[in-house]
Symmetry: C2
Subunit: 419 residues, 2 copies
């Protein structure tokens, strides 16, 4: 009759301290994106198994938590494989449900549609430190805007949100899949090899130009092709001049867009961040069709947000061409960073604890409740609790939870307050 | 390759208008409960199948969405039943996960522990109007406080939250399982018949005293027992005098507690609501051990929140006696009511739409973005969008989404604004 106490393998319980940060961050994100006209939407956590296995997912499909059919639909005796046992699964990202949602509701939605989704997704990956099988994704997407106003707004909104959370001095790196391809084309790679080349290029920040050249050689590419390719990645400051200089060597759609995006974002930004062109930025997903971008912080060595334009994907599912551009904040990554930095939620010092002597009269309790009501009306948090026998220990615990010593008050049963 | 557009059977996509209300209500609830010292926690949506099927659930077990084992653990050839195929399921309530969570983390949690959970639960019920297979529950629980300070705080916090959402003139009905039992005992029912009697008593508000008497007779109970029982349910105003008068006829633990709770709640309440004793209040769950309460609104004829004390349940799972008292807000019910009332989220009139003439120069775009930034800094929402060819229709649509006509501004590519 007793419970298994641990959560299921790879998933986690969230303790109050972390939850407070999560609620706070989600609140800032919602508020900021709402300010930019993004609208919250939600889809069920459970999706049709057919949709989840519709190939867009690629490797994700292996990671699906599948849900058993129920009642008469489940016929174990005649089942010959998993596909006979399941009709649904837990979503592994928010993009596929967004496509379905848009296909289902486009007539009821504004055009273009600016969507915000914050929600859990599930992947049956091998559990490892810091990676969980249930985690929150936080996506904004603009559907139906082919212009780079979409990119400008996504970047402006996301950098504003990151800055309100408390991040500064970060860098938005930006590139365009079309430039990426034009560079590979210019060097002489065959289109069918592009993805292979980009996977190696993606390691540039770790292994450098020599390392990339070496891995390309190991992969069997011709020396002169590699040479021409590597030459394109001259040191650069990522400024607009670097794009212009690159465009003297090769031509690529997207270059002018990048310049416009960078100039506009710079001219309107309040947040303290840099935006720079990074020709080595790849972003894994092959569904991107144009601009791609990522936010990184030097001192952390990892990205905290990423996204890009994917004009072909939604149409493939819905049958109706819909251009799309999205930016995803690495919610779990941000929470981990804030926890490591021992982040304190602003305003959380306005916490009071009122301790009532045990056995206090009803009048005394009412008096304490009345006083707590006054404090709460002023926006303060008030914990009302019984005073423990070991009052000293109790107060130490409360201070660990963020109650300042001078905000802990004792209420005794007599009219006079003692010691 | 095309997607199934509808959500899975019995679940729903949430459109922006509803989502805005949901986010708003959840925000008010979080903020209010935090003010009372409740701490947000979260458990995974996926639970061990052993825990979900641990009998506490009763009928709920049949309604579990079960998750297929993965990889080598799934051995279809040797599986003889569902139990061989699944190792986990989606949670069907928040109380069982809370018990597991508390058993797992009690050492890291304050004592008593005041928990707030807002989260989705899943039940494979037959879909019907207004009832969905995924829905949000919103629970507060105080673990480890045996005194009626717990009840007072739960009621004060929940009525404050309801009042901040905008509900007024509601009634908190309160009873105690011990009074319920003492009344049945006084009439002469046998303890093993109590639950059966209470199920009939629960219909009092629909079928009246005569109806209850009739159904009890049909169930085979003796006439004199029924007579004594029905006599106890004299018309009453639900005030404290009614409790005292009842206690002249019978004795019940809990009566003094009820009086204290009612008097204290009244003396401290700001919200516009009544609290009254209702001896016919049953609340379905047999796990309640003491006070039970429910919030109802006359004009709606249904409850919007309910809860009670359940001192035995957590210990049964964790092996360590832990008294507990909880209050659950009917989140989905409240959203439905607000949608029916065409509820407008406060502050949502401060929405602006800036429409830019298509083909505008980069400078013009930057200027519009700059202006929108100024508005946003003042807390206003600004949607920046391209001006459609059919500007009139576009503006009509925007007004339907809550943008006031005078808050929609046109920006043309020339320095002068036209028309």
């Amino acid at each position: 009759m007793s419970l298994i106490k641990k959560p299921v393998n790879g998933m986690k319980d969230i303790l109050p301290r972390e939850m407070q940060i999560r609620d706070y961050v989600a609140g800032i994100i919602r508020e900021t994106y709402a300010g930019f006209g993004f609208q919250s939407i939600e889809t069920p956590c459970v999706e049709h198994i057919e949709n989840l296995c519709s190939k867009q997912g690629g490797d994700n499909e292996k990671l699906i938590f599948k849900i058993l059919k129920r009642g008469e639909k489940l016929n174990l005796a005649e089942a010959s494989g998993e596909e006979d046992l399941t009709d649904a699964g837990l979503r592994y990202d928010l993009t596929l449900p967004l496509s379905r949602y848009y296909a289902n509701h486009a007539n009821d939605l504004p055009m273009p549609f600016k969507a915000l989704q914050i929600g859990s997704v599930w992947r049956a990956e091998r559990p490892q430190k810091g990676r969980f099988r249930q985690f929150v994704q936080c996506d904004i997407d603009i559907l139906g805007d082919p212009t780079n106003l979409a990119e400008i707004e996504l970047i402006a909104a996301t950098t504003t949100a990151l800055s309100k959370i408390g991040f500064h001095g970060f860098t938005v790196r930006i590139n365009d899949r079309r430039i990426l391809k034009a560079m590979a084309d210019h060097a002489g790679f065959a289109p069918e090899d592009y993805e292979k080349v980009f996977i190696i290029l993606d390691k540039m920040d770790k292994i450098g130009r020599d390392g990339v050249a070496e891995e390309l050689a190991q992969a069997g590419f011709a020396k002169d092709v590699i040479g021409r390719y590597i030459d394109l990645f001259q040191e650069g400051d990522g400024d607009i001049a670097q794009i212009r200089s690159l465009m003297e060597t090769l031509q690529a759609d997207g270059a002018e867009d990048l310049i416009t995006i960078m100039e506009t974002v710079r001219s309107i930004s309040t947040a303290d961040f840099a935006i720079r062109f990074d020709p080595t930025l790849v972003r894994g997903m092959s569904y991107y069709t144009g601009t791609i971008f990522e936010v990184s912080m030097d001192e952390l060595g990892s990205s905290v947000a990423g996204g890009g334009r994917y004009d072909d994907m939604i149409g493939r599912f819905t049958g109706q061409k819909t251009c799309a551009c999205g930016f995803s904040i690495g919610f779990e990554r941000i929470i981990t960073i804030l926890l490591e930095q021992d982040f304190k939620v602003p305003g959380s010092t306005e916490k009071y604890a009122f301790l009532i002597e045990k056995g206090a009269s009803q009048e005394k309790i009412a008096q304490v409740m009345e006083e707590s009501k006054r404090y709460r009306a002023e926006g303060k948090q008030v914990l009302v609790a019984w005073m423990n026998k070991n009052k000293k220990f109790q107060k130490e615990q409360l201070q660990k939870e963020g109650y300042l010593a001078e905000h802990i008050r004792d209420f005794y049963n007599t009219e006079l307050m003692r010691g």
